[in-house]
């Protein structure tokens, strides 16, 4: 792949309700901050990708309302309706096809709608949606299938929640930094078995932006470029019953493509830090398996043995992950931003020492229907 890099980035603090900021305000804030971070000007950016969702924003063609806030009014501007990692994928493809620099901006305010209605609406209108299923119950079906197939326990998943909320204590952008115990997770409100309140990510408001640039633009940016060495994406069936929910073949395929592109042959040894889309506690080990970092059914063992802790061989979600801040759509781009911060050495109290290569992962669709895997490196 040609040399392209992340040269600017910004994220808001994530919180339950940003009462004083509109979508427009949030997009403006992060677009401006990402430009300032890069040292570039708006004239260096020749295309803008906005990421938004009409159901979340409560208006049709929601992208219309934020383009100019992203500095796109006189530019080539287009939109992705899905996770921010896919918006970044599209932005990267624009640069690979000849643009100099893409500004990718993602926003969402879960506080302004009813997330259960919104996630119910992602299901097909004939078979699934009339049953009233939404993301928590659908994910509970996946957690049940995963436990059943590999003999896992609710306590196994609680460990992930404890680790990630604890990591969030060191991330000033996180919504839910918490010191909690497995017992507290187990005693939290039962929502849909086996999932309890502390197995589930919060509903957050926030926004994020990155700038992806070609080599010549990257080399004149203010910060050291974070090079994009590999990207892989793959999708599987829409209907829950058509998939093996306990193993993600789409993620496996996406990861394989990304590793091949980045010339990685032993990801467990060659990756220094990972940020994965843990919307629910059980997802982190399931995705680690899909990423080929351990055999199927053994993802929890990595955490139990301390392998994924901050001082482990492969820290996973040093930021606290999606469990600790979940602005829908934004969260996938935040995984990329957090990895880029690690590679720049700007991780603050959550910095992983000596991180040279990072893996970021985003998800679209119910129960991880599609996945986008990024391999990033510093010089």
């Amino acid at each position: 792949m040609e040399h392209i890099a992340i040269v600017g980035l910004a994220q808001t603090k994530f919180e339950r309700r940003k009462r004083d900021k509109t979508y427009y305000d949030l997009v403006y804030e992060v677009a401006k901050a990402a430009l300032e971070d890069s040292g570039l000007t708006l004239s260096d950016v020749d295309n803008v990708v906005t990421v938004s969702n009409d159901f979340l924003d409560g208006r049709t063609i929601s992208s219309m309302a934020v383009g100019e806030a992203a500095g796109g009014s006189d530019k080539n501007i287009s939109t992705v309706e899905g996770d921010g990692s896919f918006g970044a994928l599209y932005g990267a493809m624009r640069v690979l096809s000849g643009f100099r620099a893409s500004l990718i901006v993602v926003h969402s305010k879960g506080s302004e709608g009813n997330m259960r209605y919104v996630t119910n609406a992602m299901f097909d209108p004939i078979y699934h949606r009339p049953l009233g299923i939404e993301s928590i119950a659908a994910s509970a079906l996946q957690a049940n299938a995963y436990m059943q197939k590999y003999g896992l326990s609710e306590e196994d998943f609680a460990l992930i929640s404890v680790k990630n909320h604890g990591n969030a204590l060191h991330n000033p952008y996180a919504h839910l930094p918490m010191t909690i115990t497995v017992d507290e997770v187990m005693r939290s409100q039962k929502l849909a078995d086996p999932l309890k309140l502390l197995d589930c990510s919060p509903i957050s408001d926030g926004a994020a932006a990155i700038i992806i640039a070609d080599k010549s633009t990257a080399l004149k940016s203010a910060k050291k470029p974070v090079w994009i060495k590999g990207i892989g994406h793959c999708c599987e069936d829409y209907f829950l019953g058509d998939r093996d929910l306990a193993s993600s073949k789409a993620l496996y395929a996406a990861a394989l493509k990304a590793y091949e592109m980045a010339h990685i042959t032993d990801p467990l040894k060659e990756i220094d830090v990972a940020e994965v889309y843990d919307a629910f506690s059980y997802m982190e080990p399931l995705w680690l398996e899909g990423l080929g970092l351990c055999p199927s059914g053994r993802g929890v063992e990595l955490t139990r043995r301390g392998f994924t802790a901050m001082d482990g061989d492969l820290p996973v979600n040093p930021s606290g992950g999606v469990l600790s801040a979940h602005a829908i759509l934004v969260a996938g781009l935040v995984r990329i931003i957090e990895c880029a911060l690690q590679l720049r050495g700007e991780g603050g109290d959550r910095q992983v020492d000596g991180a040279r290569r990072a893996l970021a992962h985003g998800v679209n669709g119910p129960c991880g229907q599609s996945h986008c895997v990024w391999i990033l490196e510093k010089d």
Binding site: R116, Y117, N120, I126, Y127, H128, P130, L131, G132, I133, E134, I136, A137, A138, A140, L141, Q142, A143, N144, A145, Q148, Q189, K190, L191, A192, D193, P194, L195, F239, L240, G241, D242, L245
Partner: protein, 81 residues
């Protein structure tokens, strides 16, 4: 066209314990993925009774509505056999 049975096996389930206006009935009730006999994929529906006995691989049978209109609710629910 393959004719499927009105019976099958639970491949995955969750007992729902929270309130939501679009839920078909008051909690607790279960969503279950059910592999109907003769099918190679699973079908989503609900189970309302005998939830304490509900397990993966349990056999279940569809309960049909008296008045059928061509919707997913022509099946009222599945019940454990």
């Amino acid at each position: 066209m393959i004719q499927l049975s009105d019976e099958g096996v639970v491949t995955s389930f969750t007992i729902v314990r929270f309130q939501f206006e679009l839920h078909p009935t008051s909690p607790p009730f279960a969503y279950a993925l059910i592999k109907l006999d003769g099918a190679d994929v699973s079908f989503l529906h609900i189970i309302k009774d005998d939830l304490t006995s509900l397990r993966n691989f349990a056999r279940v049978k569809a309960v049909f509505a008296q008045n059928r209109v061509g919707s997913i609710w022509d099946i009222e629910c599945f019940r454990l056999i």
